[in-house]
Subunit: 337 residues, 2 copies
């Protein structure tokens, strides 16, 4: 895999142009392109430009409706329920988080449940969106089945990513974790470079824990993070997303053979309205200071969730964003067509 | 370890009598005793009667103030912040969840943050409390440091239990999980019976993953569930608990050498007020039906979180609750003194 470095603005412009040709308005095309580019800017390459062509394909075959915007289904002060109308996943999610932010400014807490949406790509974007407006943001999504239950020999659970983001002047804390121990994108990288995962990553066909990515990838048998614990957490996140939104749950999301119509929840706390502004920074600073002062095993270093994002972002802004050359050439081709 | 079977009511009565002699009012003594007994009734023996004498010791040395009740610090509609005044942990938590339930009935969502509380014993009790009143309940607590950070060679993170409970007519779903892969109580059981944990359970002194409980127990080096993922989740739960409540974080909880003054969060959603009552049961039933119909590896069976509790509860109600004979004798001694 060889990379080229592309400036952030060039990625945004190129993707925007393509998205406009697929029926997104100028404004929505730019917002959608920016969310893709931000993933790469922050070093989350698995969920940025690398996923763009598949996303375009989803528009082409009608899985994603490029012009549909979320419709309000119901509202009761602190809580809103929206129908994503199978629109653009990352735009729907950004909109839902913006509503949760607004509601939290009024009531202290804001919650938005969204049904019939599509893959939000990089979930961390919406955590950063919350902390950039000074809010604590929590969001999660269900996915198609891609992990076994604990004891199960076929995929029935989603890896249902969970994002928890806490604002901090000296660097926000943004946890962005799927419920599988390793992302499938990571396992594909191991396979391509003929490596094994550094820890058990899934099950073979007899139910043994294995590090070898090949059969895990073939059978969608990724290991739930924390074994039975990640399996349990995945199940309840799916239940919360599907029941709060009134939308589909993991076992329904894949019924057409494609992952469409996911359910998501966005929850915000406004530290100002909740009168936590006097201590929130001090408390978080002290926790991180304590964490960073921990003794470590030889050669190890401790990072808090999100810490590396700011460094990567800074570097990529200066020197350009590394993009897979092959992928970029395909995007240039799409741009010309 | 040999057990005797004691009826639920006898456990409640005995513990109530002891608690009254330590200064709890009749009503509070009974409520506190019932929460201890419920843990054993539901089969969560690590956090019931087995912990009672240590709890009494905490009252005796002044770590727990038996007569203090929570004091309201601030309120803004959907959110309340309470000071636990170092009172009785399980009573404080039950009170906080009851407030979250009440608030959710008014606003759809209710959130209570509690500082300066004490060990809530079995967290699952408060999940069952929420579902018993028809609410979705989420709660979590921080603890003293008892797990290393990812890469760290000393405990700096708490195992910070997280409870997510979803009401369902055919059996609620109640996830009650600490962030360590194995509870210390479980590791002690393995050690006592000269067994190894069935999966890696912590680190040895060189940072290797090990199944042998001895050195893990000696050094408080339990494995975060999901490796770096459980470590990250533990950190953000501590941040949420400490910042929302304005209370202590994990690194402060143990400063006296005892685990006192923990921070907790209780969050409820009222399905009725949020107009989810039309579909919540149907959605959860379908998810569980799908889960239970999964193909399994040979000899395996799939359970949803909380499923076994109802069976155990039923059995224990009929035949009596298994209690460690030694522990029960100590309780009888305490009762006579």
């Amino acid at each position: 895999m060889s990379d080229i470095l592309i400036p952030f603005s060039e990625i945004c412009q190129s993707l925007t142009t393509i998205l406009r040709s697929y029926g997104l308005s100028s404004e929505r095309a730019e917002a959608c392109a920016t969310l893709f580019a931000k993933a790469d800017l922050d070093g989350v390459r698995s969920h940025g430009v690398n996923k763009f062509l598949k996303f375009i394909e989803f528009i082409r075959v009608g899985n994603v409706n490029p012009s549909n915007e979320p419709e309000l289904e119901g509202s009761i002060g602190v809580f809103e329920r929206w129908d994503g109308l199978l629109g653009v996943g990352n735009l729907n999610a950004e909109f839902a988080m913006s509503r949760a932010i607004k509601i939290s400014e009024q009531f202290g807490i804001g919650c938005v449940a969204l049904k019939n949406s599509n893959h939000w790509m990089r979930g961390g974007n919406f955590g950063w969106q919350a902390v950039d407006s000074g809010k604590i943001g929590i969001c999660f999504t269900n996915t198609k089945p891609n992990m076994p239950a604990w004891g199960g020999s076929e995929p029935v659970l989603g890896n249902n990513p969970l994002v928890i983001a806490i604002p901090r002047k000296n660097g926000p804390v943004v946890l962005d974790m799927a419920m599988s121990q390793f992302a499938y994108g990571k396992l594909e990288n191991y396979l391509r470079s003929n490596k094994k995962a550094p820890f058990p990553a899934g099950f073979d066909e007899d139910g043994n824990l294995i590090n070898d990515p090949e059969s895990i990838l073939k059978n969608d048998m990724a290991l739930p993070a924390g074994l039975w614990k990640g399996a349990g957490l995945s199940l309840v996140l799916d239940m919360l997303a599907a029941t709060l939104s009134g939308g589909d749950s993991t076992h329904q999301v894949n019924r057409t053979g494609s992952e469409i119509g996911v359910s998501q929840v966005f929850l915000c706390f406004d530290p100002l309205k909740l009168r936590m502004d006097k201590w929130i920074d001090h408390t978080c600073d002290a926790i991180i200071e304590n964490l960073k002062s921990s003794k470590v095993f030889e050669g190890q270093k401790i990072f808090y969730p999100g810490e590396n994002v700011l460094n990567t972002r800074k570097k990529n802004k200066i020197q350009g964003i590394p993009i897979d050359k092959k992928v970029w050439n395909q995007i240039l081709k799409e741009l010309e067509s």
